[in-house]
Symmetry: C2
Subunit: 607 residues, 2 copies
Amino acid sequence: MSVFAPRGDLLRLSTLFVRTLREDPADAEVASHRLLVRAGYIRRAAPGIYTWLPLGLRVLAKVEAIVREEMDAIGGQEVHFPALLPREPYEATGRWKEYGPNLFRLKDRKEADYLLAPTHEEMFTLLVKDLYSSYKDLPLTLYQIQTKYRDEARPRAGLIRGREFVMKDSYSFDTTDAGLDAAYQRHRDAYERIFRRLGLEYVIVSAMSGAMGGSRSEEFLSPSPIGEDTFVRSAGGYAANVEAVVTPVPDPVPYDDAPAAHVEDTPDTPTIDTLVALANAEHPRPDRAWTAADTLKNVVLAVTRPDGGRDLLVVGVPGDREVDMKRIEAALAPAEAEPAGDADFARHPQLVKGYIGPAVLGPQGVQVTDPETGETRSAIRYLLDPRIVPGTRWITGANEAGRHVFDLVAGRDFAADGTIEAAEVRAGDPAPDGSGPLELARGIEMGHIFQLGRKYAQALGLTVLDENGKQVVVTMGSYGVGVTRALAALAEAHHDDRGLAWPAHVAPAHVHVVATGKGSEVFEAAEDIAQGLVARGVEVVYDDRPKVSPGVKFADAELLGVPLLVVVGRGLADGVVEIRPRAGEARQVAVADAVAAVVADVETLLR
Amino acid sequence: MSVFAPRGDLLRLSTLFVRTLREDPADAEVASHRLLVRAGYIRRAAPGIYTWLPLGLRVLAKVEAIVREEMDAIGGQEVHFPALLPREPYEATGRWKEYGPNLFRLKDRKEADYLLAPTHEEMFTLLVKDLYSSYKDLPLTLYQIQTKYRDEARPRAGLIRGREFVMKDSYSFDTTDAGLDAAYQRHRDAYERIFRRLGLEYVIVSAMSGAMGGSRSEEFLSPSPIGEDTFVRSAGGYAANVEAVVTPVPDPVPYDDAPAAHVEDTPDTPTIDTLVALANAEHPRPDRAWTAADTLKNVVLAVTRPDGGRDLLVVGVPGDREVDMKRIEAALAPAEAEPAGDADFARHPQLVKGYIGPAVLGPQGVQVTDPETGETRSAIRYLLDPRIVPGTRWITGANEAGRHVFDLVAGRDFAADGTIEAAEVRAGDPAPDGSGPLELARGIEMGHIFQLGRKYAQALGLTVLDENGKQVVVTMGSYGVGVTRALAALAEAHHDDRGLAWPAHVAPAHVHVVATGKGSEVFEAAEDIAQGLVARGVEVVYDDRPKVSPGVKFADAELLGVPLLVVVGRGLADGVVEIRPRAGEARQVAVADAVAAVVADVETLLR
């Protein structure tokens, strides 16, 4: 079968609705944003909200078509849900609140609550509940390619983190865990094919499920220095989003020979380094020198629950590591955390800034009884990094200004309410599966696959009759591809200083014909070639602008990033035109052979 | 070129995500709504908001493709705007307020105002202003096929009047009036082709521009008894939306011989008929009998301006006609009118309900001075039907309970603040252009084309340099097709008691193959035929459900409305299958010839 349509498109630059810009837009931080705006593919309508111009829309349609084909190939059935949805289903699953300020909420003229959907688990679950009733109806995979909304606190990087964006979201429905595993694997394979066809390098990493709930979850990241996701990988094949990295827990340490804890004056130690220096000078440890890793840093956070309530939480980590707020947020989701403020400290005078120690935290601190449940809990919850195992000895705050406690032994002198993955992951840390040291990199999240399990089906009552006539709760998967974000990732991966450089499968056209010169013979020859290509099914941008200089035309061609440039100009006197790949060596061909040569080149690019 | 794709689709009913319903949905008033839900094409998500299931989405895609092809054919360039837009552009044109409660408004997390766009004139105007600057860039036509929002007071009839719906909206940009005329005509022609290709009967009627502003405007209506628009047409070719009908103004009547006005007691005349009877009995007119058309009915309305202010307005019409609120609303737009309530009457004791006459209205009533402009105007504005010309003689209220005034002569005894098209249009009324008497019918508005002129360009500063280097304001047209509504109109036009009956170009598939019987040979033969058709590019629904009765299968086939049914069943023993058009005569063909025969039938339907 031909790779071409029966007839290609001819886009004339003299009339095409596009204007290229020489200057970068002021708000553009990353190459994809900068170049997509400069090349006239997109235009900002509001923060994180973009208009698609003709060239951008062509690329978007091609990306969507590839996604659609691969979803159809695994038996996905396409449907289309509204973006404007009533509150009730999202109330039933708790997400109306959990999404917090990320959800666009509105009221209709009757004061009923609506939202602009950020994702559609609830609606798909209810739809299947509405139509299906028997195990014989399953397995089922439904998908949509649809516009989604998320009121990001900091929309950034153009299409990478927008507030209105296109997603492919699909959902699988099975009665058994094995069925869910199979549906998950089918999606995983389909996503690999999608990103390969798009021409995007990808890494599959283990991920946290976050507000989605559920168990197994992986992300497809496009490695990129501007990516918002940090991920780790080991030479032995481990790969995970940094939020999902589980710290290997060391064995407990014997502490029979540890001295008793002792409080010491530690004047003029504003930093961990100065504290360690003073410790080694005035209170040396006999077996080895104290290091930053022997200090226990207690960081005070304010945590906002989905119901709006606010609690203090103290997180203890070894002093040689920073806390990683993204890891903490992933661990606490759907609650949100931020560093505690002065008002928080003022309300808790037992917290002496800079000298906070376990003696006033968690089990050692004040205990309160929950008026509703009757359960007792710590007034200030205290969670520790998993490395702080029983027997480890610490220098930490003595809860008095200018004083620290030394040789405080975990498990002997203090305990916590639990552990938390709060410390930064560093290059060289061991992989959790023992597959070697980790290296860190950044990536753009293009896809995310989740085994939701029965959470949504349970909450919304999606059951079917099994073989024995018994009602069983359906198990679900949820799978997303950020379609507009994948387009941005493509631009990040395929550009240079001069402009975009699209892979042929997603380029807005296959060939960019430039007529350079003033004579009508140049335009006639270029027109013939352009028409000849279109008749063969090739999609052509033809720069037919009569009074534009060759320099401007070439600069525009490189900015637009169509994979093959055909230059019709000076060589015409010698009967030749030039074929110049966007990335590659130029060559001359006879005018009469031009169409056939270009068609062959395009076929090669598309196969 | 073949009418077929290289390979068709095969939709197996055993796995297709569809469930037909035997019962009508409780909220469905019209056939399209009832059948599209029962046949599993759409599903309600909220009032006026629908989910598209696989079959519905296939039809929608085909309707969109036809619209897209015809827009491309007139040089339209496709773009795509966000649905979520900032307030400012709509503030600049006054529509943020004018749309009143029909606009979905919301705030983002920073409390900035946003809306869900009901139409995009502002954004297209600003985009062209942003990119273009010279007359050489024009003419230009841009379009999008996009999801729109309108918070209807009474969403009804399924897709006919929804709150989230798909529209094709396009906009033309020209420097000259002649250019706008040409762009308007191109769209008019394109719309005729679109509706012809869709298989929809249409009538083009003159229309009011309403909140859009601008001058020339026409609607494309699909004649249907369930349509919300009433239109008129004459045998001589006049056609207009009833709101746009202009009443021919009669010549003034000489009134030299009219008696002086006289007030009479009119007890027990609660209706116009009883009043006319009393008038003829007790105060006969010498030249002819009084009729209802001689009474002047004054109707009190409360008018809400876009700025929220509320005024009283009295409308005077001949007593033989009702007032038509839709015509009044169109005349007053963007203000909204409703019958005055008791509170309104209480505030204006000079208005004696049932006996309101001109003596207290308009120029005859209290005059007030506008504090801002200093202009004098009537405290109660009074507008008359255009038939009430100088010299006409009336019986009307005397502003006292139980009394009317007789022989009150317009122009001699009273005047008004102006005229208004408020009276109902009736079958038999003369066409404004003299082309004969009007007949009335109802239709579904599927398209609307407007000459906007320079209103939006002026408000938003869209100018270009003309040939002489002078800034000129661009003139615009705005053109819409209700895509989801056209699909509903198709269902209204093409169905019967048993279900839908799609034209082949928009049907979700071309052929519906039904296997009836229990033997595996039936399913094998049906499978072969289905596969044979798909290999030829035909789109096939194949009812392969093993344990479903023939009766249910036939009922489902008729409900789904695919144009050709192929029955593989009892005839197989004799080597034949049956080809049964959804509308038409069934015939038998030999199994071996089935694929070729069906392909030929489909080709005929598609050409």
